[in-house]
Symmetry: C2
Subunit: 235 residues, 2 copies
């Protein structure tokens, strides 16, 4: 029987690649996406298309009622804060960016853990990356290791000795290598969406096109450029 | 200025006591309650009344869309599984009870962590207890310690050296001692609700009365009995 795994799928380039890696590893992939009031809600449509293309075992979109809950406030992704534009990589380095959403990966991984318990899955895949854009505290390897240790104490799986693994196949890869990995696995990046501040555009297959100027667009465009390609989701 | 703290408030006896402890410690208390499709939804009304009586700084009820998300399934608290009745304490000991909700405390603490980041609170209070009813993996001291370690790696607070504390003032107390502690702090247990399988009753101040037979009722009734009292929320 195929082993089940839970895959956090935002609809971005990284998580689409992670899903392809998990499939290649032989897992039955249960994708989990979050509607948390993000400015770039178009990624929810991207996630649907990625999940459909990659033939997942299931795809759930969990709604987090950010407005009532109040815990995801103050970020440029969820609140009335401008998304930084036209920054080079040196400007991105160092501080925690204003696009940081408080404890977001902890909340997402907690949901994934609950779903993994329910599905009796021992593996959770997440597309965090500590190379290109290291300002997010909850993308660091030390955070992932600590979450995994906690997860094995939190759960029935842990008590019963079915070890839970948080799999981060992209954590050490620069963006160019992530794209090469995904292309080798047949990922269609034309249906992915990475932009933090998209521009509505009915002619685009997702209904919005990337701004080309936020940190996420800058990194993504540069990586495709290094490979001598145009971003298939742009334009 | 009063330091803010996030208090997980279910509306039960334990969390009402924890809230009183946090107030006594001088915190401005931001209560956080979850509507997760629990069978005992009446606890949401209890939480509202407890929060009002104890004059919290704020009270939020976050809705978790359990049906769409799917991760809280299979428990007697959320699903078509019978709540065990009339068990003595020896029958409760040992196995993980069917009232265990997968990774529930991890999800609740993750939300609390996000809210703590937003409020710049360094303390999160939770009413877990490892004495009376030790079958839940996510009530163990080792779990709490691991969550705290993870929380300090996950967050801006951790990066900036504002240490986050998960406070569990009840973790080593038997139920009788919890009630004594709360009574000493003026907690009105008549507005709390602990029963897993309440019976609708319009004459009750919460709109439902405890069944008196689930594990939670058995432990609560016995503890009030030991103190020579009737449970003020019963009947």
């Amino acid at each position: 029987m195929t082993r089940p795994a839970v895959i956090l799928l935002s609809g971005g380039l990284d998580s689409a690649t992670v899903l392809a890696v998990a499939r290649e590893d032989g897992f039955a992939c249960h994708a989990l996406t979050f509607d948390y009031g993000q400015r770039h809600r178009v990624e929810l449509e991207a996630a649907r298309q990625v999940a459909a293309q990659q033939d997942v075992a299931s795809h759930r979109t969990a709604v987090i009622d950010t407005a009532t809950f109040g815990g995801f406030a103050g970020s440029a992704l969820t609140d009335a804060v401008d998304v930084p534009k036209d920054r080079d990589e040196s400007q991105m380095a160092g501080d925690i960016p204003v696009t940081y959403v408080p404890a977001r990966n902890t909340v997402f991984l907690a949901y994934a853990l609950a779903l993994a318990e329910t599905l009796e899955a021992s593996d959770i895949f997440i597309g965090v990356n500590a190379v290109d854009y290291s300002g997010y505290p909850d993308c660091r390897p030390a955070f992932i290791e600590a979450f995994e240790a906690m997860a094995n104490l939190a759960t029935k799986a842990g008590v019963e000795g079915r070890r839970l693994n948080i799999q981060t196949p992209l954590i050490d890869l620069p963006k160019v290598k992530i794209i090469e990995l995904g292309l080798g696995l047949g990922v269609d990046y034309g249906v992915t969406h990475s932009c933090y501040d998209p521009i509505a555009d009915e002619s685009h297959r997702l209904g919005a096109r990337p701004c080309g100027r936020c940190d996420s667009c800058v990194l993504r465009t540069a990586a495709f450029g290094e490979l001598g390609m145009a971003d298939p989701a742009a334009g």
